[in-house]
């Protein structure tokens, strides 16, 4: 504690020496955030088709692959086709509750091996088993909590039944979402982040929020763009049309 007090005292002393370079304020905050978030959601309930078009454009620009399904029951066929085309046999998915539907039985019927990261199983044995399954899986299936049109970005909250690595370790990531997840701008995402943190422990069961904008990439060798350096080589989304 002595270290902290001393450290902060030094900074307090330095800060007190100067009024600063110019008068400045941090970014304005939405007040109250939950109401501002509600307003955005209401507006998007009208404007989602334009947001979806823009998202698709931006998502494809960062090498994302866009799919549509009329309703949730049609999603497994889309995922199975993606897996088949790549010769993938092992899949891992979020818990049905986090995903909004149970994708596993239909995929299993297609002859694929599906591991489900069930919520509420967090003992050491489950942890170890999950890790092995996640490391072996070739396709990872997740939801998306926010979908950002302006930048082609998927935002995923980690938590119970929604492991971080499902969208990271497999070569192919498939995210499934509906119209209610669409946002237009990064600024709106800022409002959502504020709203999530009003009561974070109730809004999120996990400790990580991940923004995903296209596949993993690098240009570290002679500036040659290469995909899939650590994370997925491909990112797909399946947009579910039915509300």
């Amino acid at each position: 504690m002595a270290a902290r007090a001393e450290f902060l005292e030094r900074i307090r002393r330095e800060v007190a020496k100067t009024p600063g370079l110019f008068e400045a304020e941090p970014a304005p905050r939405p007040a109250p955030p939950s109401a501002a978030a509600e307003t955005i959601r209401r507006e998007l309930a009208e404007r989602w088709p334009q947001a979806l078009d823009r998202f698709r454009e931006e998502f494809e620009r960062v090498a994302g692959v866009f799919h549509r399904a009329p309703r949730f029951t049609a999603v497994p066929a889309v995922i199975a086709a993606i897996a088949r085309e790549r010769g993938a046999r092992r899949l891992i998915t979020w818990d049905p509750v986090a995903l909004g539907f149970d994708v596993a039985p239909a995929l299993a019927r297609e002859g694929l091996t599906v591991a489900v990261a069930r919520a509420g199983q967090e003992d050491e044995t489950s942890r170890q088993r999950h890790r092995e399954e996640a490391a072996r899986a070739e396709v990872g299936v997740t939801g998306a909590d926010f979908v950002l049109a302006e930048t082609g970005t998927l935002v995923l909250l980690s938590g119970s039944g929604r492991p971080r690595s499902t969208s990271l370790l497999p070569d192919v990531h498939v995210a499934v979402f509906g119209r209610d997840r669409l946002l237009e701008t990064l600024e709106q995402m800022g409002v959502m982040l504020e709203a999530l943190h009003v009561e974070p422990d109730r809004a999120m069961s996990g400790a990580m929020i991940t923004f995903i904008t296209g596949p993993s990439r690098t240009a570290d060798i002679e500036l040659t763009l290469t995909r899939g350096v650590h994370g997925p080589k491909e990112v797909h989304v399946v947009f579910v049309e039915a509300p």
Binding site: I11, G20, E25, E187, H197, S205, I209, D220, E222, G231
Partner: protein
């Protein structure tokens, strides 16, 4: 920093870089590409200019209450179950990491790219203590295998050819790999995937830390930042105290301009927001989260010359446009942070003495200020730094003497006239193709690498007199 590099004086280091044909080509291609990508990205983003102003204001506003924000950040991280450590010096920061490794039996640590860990020479310290540090950013991995240092803030290995990387991987990872970036990347993916799954500790820097929520934010393209914060049982984040920002509303302002400035992307592939250790019910994530707050000379500048350098986001945009960096690359600077901002950061961390030569490695053209996402006035601070060097008698005596004489001359119209007249004659042996070259004595170091316009046959004063 490796002392061998610093034993040779800066002009020699720069000279060697200028003779390195591959480096010259690589620098030209890389920096030009980054410049174009950035330009294109801002061209289609009309609100970018206003966002840059806002981002600058946020940095300034945060500094005005830095103590409050740091305290809030620390309280929130602790409330989330994380541990906060306070490191006044680089040595203290290293000691904190080493103690954690010792106490928890850590054998291997995977790292995502972090300039702060470079700044404190963490890898060497870990190796000495018997802990294997593994850099996982592809560029950092390459230079770690080659036992070199990063040459660009965001593209650490731009000075290496794919042939060199193929040779390096073939030797170090035992195989026969072709000079194909795609293949080499796949080789690194495989080698590093094992490390991610085996490592006990993940070490990261922080692009931002949000005081109000206790969140540490990492921006990466490769996904290694996500691996390092998801798979090992311990996560240690090391951040300079200037990285704190007040709220999530501030974060999105920075996100909108950071990747655009660095690589021309709208957002980097991954932005990771970490709120302490894993929570009950999470299958993955570290059991322990440690945040190390690093001062290392930063607080000294809050009320001093280099305050504005504390706004820096480490995007690398100022390196790409700098006519000096474009010629000599990152290694010639000799310290962790290269380029125009690097000179200021080096002065901040290592003291003014360390930049007695580097302070002049700038033409003061102002290109850096133009592209800086938070509009840091780098040229102004470089000039002030030069003044300090002179006042503190750190600059070489010959340089100080020359400028003193020059000042005298400029202040006295009579002396100026006389000197111009004398110069017209004295310069005759040194004028070649209409330029002054190869001056003798004190002036020789000036004309060794540049030429000068000669004193005109008739000076402006003389012309003015006639016209009147």
């Amino acid at each position: 920093m490796s002392d061998t590099a610093l034993r040779t004086p800066f002009p020699e280091r720069a000279g060697a870089a200028l003779k390195d044909a591959f480096l010259q080509e690589a620098l030209k291609i890389a920096t030009t590409k980054f410049i174009d990508l950035r330009k294109e990205s801002f061209a289609g983003f009309p609100q970018g200019e206003a966002l840059r102003d806002r981002a600058r204001a946020i940095k300034e506003a945060t500094l005005q209450h830095l103590d409050v924000h740091l305290e809030r950040l620390a309280d929130n991280v602790e409330r989330l179950g994380g541990t906060v450590h306070w490191a006044t010096t680089a040595e203290e920061a290293r000691e904190i990491v080493l103690r954690l490794c010792r106490d928890r039996g850590v054998r291997m640590a995977v790292k995502s790219k972090s300039m702060a860990t470079e700044e404190i020479d963490l890898n060497e310290a870990l190796e000495h203590a018997g802990v294997t540090p593994v850099e996982t950013d592809l560029g950092e991995y390459i230079i770690q295998l080659a036992h070199e240092k990063p040459s660009h803030i965001i593209a650490p290995a731009i000075h290496k050819t794919k042939g060199q990387v193929a040779e390096l991987f073939s030797r170090e990872l035992r195989g026969e790999f072709p000079a194909d970036p795609e293949v080499l990347t796949a080789v690194a993916r495989k080698a590093l995937r094992e490390k991610f799954l085996q490592a006990d500790m993940g070490i990261t820097g922080a692009n931002f830390a949000i005081a109000e929520t206790g969140t540490v934010v990492l921006v990466t393209n490769e996904g290694n930042g996500r691996m390092v914060t998801s798979l090992p049982r311990i996560h240690v984040a090391l951040m300079g105290i200037e990285k704190v920002i007040p709220s999530m509303s501030d974060l999105v302002v920075f996100l909108a301009i950071l990747a655009r400035s660095a690589t021309g992307q709208k957002l980097s592939s991954y932005t990771t927001l970490v709120r302490g250790p894993r929570r009950v019910g999470e299958l993955e994530g570290p059991e322990e989260f440690h945040l190390i707050l690093l001062d290392n000379g930063r607080s000294r500048q809050i009320a001093s010359t280099l305050r504005e350098a504390l706004y820096c986001l480490r995007c690398g945009a100022c390196l790409n446009v700098c006519p000096v960096y474009r010629q000599i690359g990152g290694h010639a600077y000799g310290y962790t942070y290269p380029g125009p901002i690097g000179i200021l950061l080096t002065a901040m961390l290592k003291g003014n003495e360390s930049v007695r030569e580097l302070a002049h490695a700038s033409s003061l053209c102002g290109a850096c200020k133009d592209v800086c996402p938070v509009r840091i006035d780098i040229p102004r601070m470089l000039i002030e730094l030069r003044e300090h060097l002179d006042r503190e008698r750190i600059a070489p005596w010959s340089e100080r003497l020359a400028f003193k004489a020059f000042r005298r001359l400029l202040l006295s119209p009579g002396a100026f006239r006389l000197t111009a007249r004398a110069g017209r004659w004295l310069q005759l042996p040194f004028v070649r193709e209409g330029r002054l070259r190869g001056l003798p004595l004190l002036f020789s170091s000036w004309t060794r690498t540049r030429d000068l316009p000669p004193v005109a046959a008739r000076t402006f004063r003389e012309l003015w007199k006639e016209l009147r």
